[in-house]
Structures are given as C-alpha cells and as structure tokens.
Amino acid sequence: MILKKRFVWLFIAVLSFSLAFSGCGSSSDTPVNNTTDAAVTPASGTTEASGQPADITPTEISVFISDPGQQAPTPDNAVYKMIQEKLGVTFQWDFLVGDKDQKIGVMIAGGDYPDLLFVDTYSNPKFMSAGALIPLDDLMKNNAPNLYAHYKPVWNIAKNPEDGKFYIMANYGVLKGTYQAPRWEGSAFWIQKAVLADAGYPAPPKTLDEYFSLIENYMAKNPTIEGQPTIGFETLCEGWRDFCLKHPPEHLMGRPNDGDTTVVNGKCTSFWDTNEAKVYYKKLNEEMQKGIIDPEFFSLTYDQYIAKLSSGAVLGLFDQHWDFGNNAELNLANANKDERTWIPCELTLPGYKPYYQDQPVVNVNTGFAITKSCKDPERVIKLFDTLMTEEWQKILGWGLPGKDYTVGSDGKFTLTTEQSNQNNDTAYRLANRAYTLWYYGPKMEGTYSDGNATSPGLSPEVFYNGLHQYDKDFMAKYNRKTWAEFLTPAPPNPISYPLWQIDKVAGSLADVAWSKYNDVGTKYLPRLILAEPDKFDSMWTEYVDSLHKIDLKPYYDRIDSQLQWREKNWAPNAE
C-alpha cells in the first residue's frame, strides 16, 4: 500500500515536471488546425440554440480551481483540442498549490482574479465580501439560452439569498430526465451480504427486530470471520461523524436525512427525546447485553472504525455510504471479498413508511463564477452555453464515441472493459477527457433526450457490467440490477429540504444552544447503550431531563426562519 502510494507520488512528480516543461513551449508549438479523429463529428460551434453564428476567434480563459491535488490536462488533450478548434477557446488552468486561505487572501488583496473561479461554500463568503464576482442574471438571460434553461428550475435555490442575484453556476444537483444513481450514497442501516446469503436470501429486513435477529443468527454460527472476532453491529461517535450514532431515530420515524433535527408540520423539531429514539437506543442496549455491538464503539476514531469495517468482520452498521464506501468497502471489493460488503436496509418502526433515499439537492454556492477581472464575460457565458447543449455534454460526460465509449445498435452507451478501466485512469483522463471542466462546470445529471445516462457513473448498464460476479449473482437472487433498487425510490424533495444545509451562523446563540444540546447526546448516548438493562429507564429520564434543560429556542428560531424563507423563495419558478 505504502509502496503503491510512493509510486503514485513519483508519478505525479514526474508528470508535473514534464507538464511544466512541455507547458513552456506548447503555446507556440501547437498548430491550431490539427487533424482530429475522423470519428469525431457530432459537435460544432455553430449550432448554438440562439441560431447566431458563434464567435470562434481564439481566446484564452484563465481558471482557478481551489482544490489541491489536481493536475492540468496534457497539451494535446483530445477534447480540449476540439473545444479549441470548434469554439476557439483554450483554458489556462491554475490549480491550488499550498495553502488555500493564503492563495485566496493574496488574490483578494491584489484584486487580481482569473476570468473564472471555482467557488465553494467555504470560499464563497470571502469572494462575495471582496466583491470579486459579477452577477450573471442578465448576462445569462441575454446570451445563454441553454444555460438559462438549465438553471431556471433551480434559479431561486441557486441565487444568493442576501441580494437575490445569481453568481455561481452550481456544478451538481441540477437534474434532467430521470435521475437514478446505481448506488445509494446516503444514510441506511447496512447488512453484510454474507448474512443474507447464509439465511437463504430472505427479503432485506424492514424492522429493527428482523435486522438484529438475522445478525444474531449469523453471529452464533460464525463467532469469528477469518480469525477476527465477529462484530454484529458497529457505530461511530467521533467528531462530526457522530451522525452514525445520533441520526438513526429520524430515519426510523420515516424521515429523510434532515440532519441533527427534522421537520414536523413545517417546524424544526428535535427527535432526540422522542419515544422512537428511546425504542432504538433500548434495542441497542439489549443487543449490547447480547454481545452483538462492539463494546468499544464510543472510543473509536474514524481510522479505527474504517479498519474494523475493512476487516470484513462487521455484519451491520448505520452510516452514510460515502463515509465508508471509498475506503472500507473498496478495500474489501479489491480483495475479492464482495460477500463481506454491505447492502442498504431501510428499517422503520411500526407505523412509519421508509424514506431513506432522497433526490439530489442543488449544490448551492459551489461551482464556477465569473470575476470582475474577466474582460469578456459574454464570451465566457456563451462558451458555457454551448457546452450545455447535449452534444457537448456527451463529449464532456462520456468522451468521444468509439474511443471512450461504445454506442450499441440500440443507441445505448456502454463501456468495454478497456474503456471502463480508462474511465477510471487519471493519466488517461488527463490526455483524453475534459474531466476537470466537466467535474467543476455546470452539467446535466440524469438522462439525455435519447434516454442515455448523462455520464458513465449514472448509467445502470455501465454500473452493472462493472460489477464483480458475486454481486451480479447476489442481485440476481433479488431480481435487481442496482444497489439503489434495494431502497424505496426517492419521492420529490419537500421544498425547504434539506434542513442540514442551513447555516446556524457560527458563534450565534443558535449555534451555542445546539452545541450544548449535542454535547448532552455525546455524553449520554454511549452510556445508555452500555448501561445495565435495569438502569436504562432511569438513565433515559435523566438524559431527556438534561436535554430539556437546554433552551433550544434560538436554534429553532433560526432554523424555522430559514425554512420559511426557503418555502417562500425556493418554490419552483417563484421568481
């Protein structure tokens, strides 16, 4: 592993050197009218929806990406070359090296910005207060019909709540066609595939009792897994990742992931002191007595938690998939231990309908913004307008047909094994795909008008073909083709959803009140789970009393006012 990492670093070092040297001479060396792949024909700069001939005089757009660890594309990158030929635009990439705060600070102090900035929730307040960004409202409405059509349905969500103007082209969360990610990345109770396989592939559990009895049965038969003592259920309460411990009651009550508190009848409400929460923690207390739950859960750091999951000995957990999918689960899959990975279960208490999957939310305040230093904002917005057409979206999302993906006789886009590997290969991407532009830029997510997914990651076919045989067989038992199908499809999000995105305003009374409330949970929940069973009830009363001693009014006031603001301003086409 370490050796592998070293190679990667070596590779990056060599690559960056070669880029630095090749970059010096490339601007004059590269002939503008280079012959391109004959198969590439679909896009052309003249097919703008507005019907006007596009301005293709050569121009350069400078872009700053405030993420570390990025690399510039190779000088002869196929897609960027195409953009240069058809649209006359070359990109001058500037990726973050060193300290983000410092880089942004220097930029603001000098008042000298690139044409285009990638802004995120963190840097947005800084750039906004420095007056670095220009509003795109009129620019987009007058010059970029495609782009405007793209953002129109979410205009009120994406605009700045302070002055009501549109500054940032959100990179994710603007959907088109049918959106169905093959994987559910959010919250769920997860159960190891081997547990279900051993039980004869029963329907995935729906209640806490079903879930834990499956785990108990498997654990009785398999006290150890590959020499490691089996852990029936694992949870985590470290730092901000304590949602693993604190959020389950809200889902058991049939609510989607609203975060620390949820919305009942339009009002922000705590679920921490509810009877449902008591049922859940009492169940955990019982399971702890039976030796199902890891008795060390309360002191685990995230790294230790991931190490335990990666051992394959953990049968069940509550977590959001992104929190363990890219490390623990990937480790197991790469070691061909697919039976030790997990599938999502949507458990609820009696009387509640499961609502785990939600629709993706607009990634507010995150995306490209045009700066006041940009000499020709019109040209930039027109570029993104052209890129927002389906022809260009396909080139950005999938690459070039025949080379990066295969078009079947039925018109379906698929990847061969080689193409699939290339798709995940950073070096290949740098030479052949406009991945950076696609990833950070405005994009369609869902399906195109021809029914194809907007990118390989969202294509059920590509996903299914990339699965290991164990997973294909496992899914066959349940007659499913994606992991997301194990959960109820997501209904449309409530207008003000999700509550967790609301800023409590650092240091405000709302923030302090919530922090105190949260501290009580951190202190009591592990104790409740570890308590002697006969002391559970009295300790629960003590816990609820401690919660009620804290005045949450400032917190509720802040959240409720923001929810109301959203209800009023986020309604579709409320403009």
């Binding site: 008795p295 309360f298 002191s299 240091g507 923030d511 501290d519 929940l525 592990p526 570890l530």
Partner: protein
C-alpha cells in the same frame, strides 16, 4: 555656606555622578544592549502586543467589524462563564490533572535521576537514559494511539491483567471517567520522565566530588550520600523548576485530552484549553474564549507569585 547649602551640593554631586555612571555603563555595554534589542522586540511583539486582544473579552467581537466597531458588553461574557456548569467542570479537570502531573512528573524524574546517578556502568547508564527520554520526541498523536491500543479490550493491559487473574473480564479503560486522570498522568510520566531527568542529572554533575569523597572518609553509606549530598545539591534546581511549573498550573494540556476523550469520559477529560478551543474556534465565539483565557492567565500569574513568595519566605531560591 550653611548646612543646607552643603547638603544640597552633596546631593547634586551624588545624583549627577550616579546619573553619569549609569550612562557610562550603558555606553560601555553598548554591544550587550544592542544584542538584547531583538529579544526585547520579540517579547514586546509576541507577548505584550497580543494582550491588546483582551479587549475582545469585553466586547461582542465580530471579526468583520474588528476591535473598533464591535459592541461593548462589559462583563457579560464573564457572567456567562460563571453561570456555565461546564466551565467549573473543566476548571476542576484542569487543576486536578495539572497537579497530578506536577506531583508525579517531579517525583519520578528525581527518583530516576538519583538512580541513574548511582549506576557505575557507563554504557548501561547511557542506554537507560536514552531509552527513557526518547518518547519525549514522539508527538501526542502517536503516544495517544499507543495508549488507545494498549488499553483496548484486547490490548496489552487487559491481556496482562486477565492472564494474571486480577480481572475476570476485560475493562473498558477509556470508557470510565474515573480512570481518565490516572491514564493521562501515566502517559505523561512515560513520555516525559527521561527528558525531565536530564536537568537533574546536570545539577548532580555540578556537585563538587570533594563532598562525596569527604563523606566517604566519614563513613557515609550510599543512601546517606544521596540523602545528605545529592538531594540538597539539586534542591535549588528543583525549587526553580517547581515555581516555573506552578506558573503553568492552569494549562493542563490540550492534545492528550483532545485525543483520548470520548462521550463516556468527557466529564473528566475536558480541560479549559478544550473549552476555549470549542468556543473560540469551533463556534467563533472569540469573546467568550478570550474571557476564559484571561481567567486562566490571571490564575497562573497569581499562582506563580504565590509560589515565589512562599519560596522566599522559607529561604529558598526564587525566580523573581
């Protein structure tokens, strides 16, 4: 001349000559003065100027408005502090952990220094000394990972105690608040004992060997030499170090508590440093954090002066 005039004249000459001698000395030592200027500037710049930030404690400080435009709120931040049960809890934890640490780190390092001094085999002495001070160079992050894995359910401590039959089932060491102070003190002693010993060894080395020779002539045993020569020989060092440490009594540490605390032991693990971090940096309530910081510094200074005063009263070496 009258008596008065004579007195006046005498006064003038003494004062003038004294004045003159001050300036001559200054001139004579100008190299030294120049050398001390950077240090003086450093101290003013990094220790005195930042205390201007203390005004935050009396304001509802907001970074966007700065010191000049934030609203003045008088002592209300202090009132919030004194009304907060967590503040008292963290205050107690800081004092207790600090005192435990003081007592144990001083006693262990002196004992180790005395023992090392008695070892005649140079190689063995060096080896012990090196091994014992190496942990000082480990960061707390590493030490705490070691502590956590040693104390885990299948860790070395539980295995040892189970093997010896002292406990029947593994103990969740970090899950019980009342073990926390002990764990922290032990970790601290393990990490720092060798390092703290160095200064005592140096003090012991400075003791005149003639004293030991004379004692041997008088028939003193090894323990008597320790008792009557070595210990009094390092007393001065000990007192100075003690006074300095007492000046840091409120700083019970930050990293080990931060890394070892969890929901189960938080009542014993959270110190004032963590309290300040929580309010100042996680919630951006700089005013409250500054108020807590001022209280900490005030107590530290008071403790330092008291220790110094007591040392002076009992006729010991003192710092100021």
């Amino acid at each position: 001349m009258t008596m008065d005039a004579i007195d006046l004249e005498r006064y003038r000459t003494t004062v003038l000559s004294r004045k003159k001698s001050f300036w001559t000395t200054l001139l004579k030592q100008k190299q030294l003065v120049f050398m001390s200027v950077p240090v003086l500037l450093y101290i003013i710049l990094f220790f005195y100027v930042p205390t201007l930030g203390w005004v935050m404690a009396f304001q509802n400080f907001q970074p966007a408005k700065g010191f000049l435009h934030s609203a003045w709120v008088g002592l209300s931040n202090f009132r919030v502090l004194f009304a907060d049960a967590d503040f008292y809890r963290d205050f107690r934890n800081s004092i207790c952990m600090s005192s435990l640490n003081l007592v144990f780190s001083f006693s262990t390092s002196i004992v180790l220094a005395l023992l090392l001094n008695e070892i005649k085999n140079r190689f063995f002495k060096r080896a012990v000394q090196t091994i014992s001070y190496l942990p000082h160079f480990l960061s707390w992050v590493i030490v705490c990972s070691l502590v956590v894995s040693t104390l885990s359910l299948d860790g070395a401590v539980n295995q040892l105690l189970l093997g010896l039959g002292i406990i029947q089932k593994p103990v969740v060491w970090l899950g019980q608040g009342n073990y926390f102070w002990g764990i922290l003190t032990s970790a601290n002693v393990w990490k720092e004992v060798g390092w703290n010993t160095i200064i005592y060894l140096a003090a012991i080395a400075a003791i005149d060997p003639a004293l030991y020779e004379a004692a041997v002539m008088d028939g003193a045993s090894r323990f008597q030499k320790m008792r009557y020569i070595t210990l009094p020989g390092i007393k001065t060092t000990f007192v100075i170090l003690l006074i300095m440490s007492i000046g840091w009594i409120m700083q019970a540490g930050f990293e080990p508590q931060y890394l070892l605390r969890n929901g189960m032991n938080i009542d014993f693990a959270e110190t004032l440093d963590l309290y300040i971090i929580k309010y100042g940096f996680q919630m951006s309530n700089f005013s409250l954090a500054t108020a807590a910081g001022i209280l900490m510094s005030t107590i530290n200074i008071a403790m330092l002066l008291t220790a110094n005063y007591i040392a002076k009263k009992v006729g010991e070496e003192r710092l100021i």
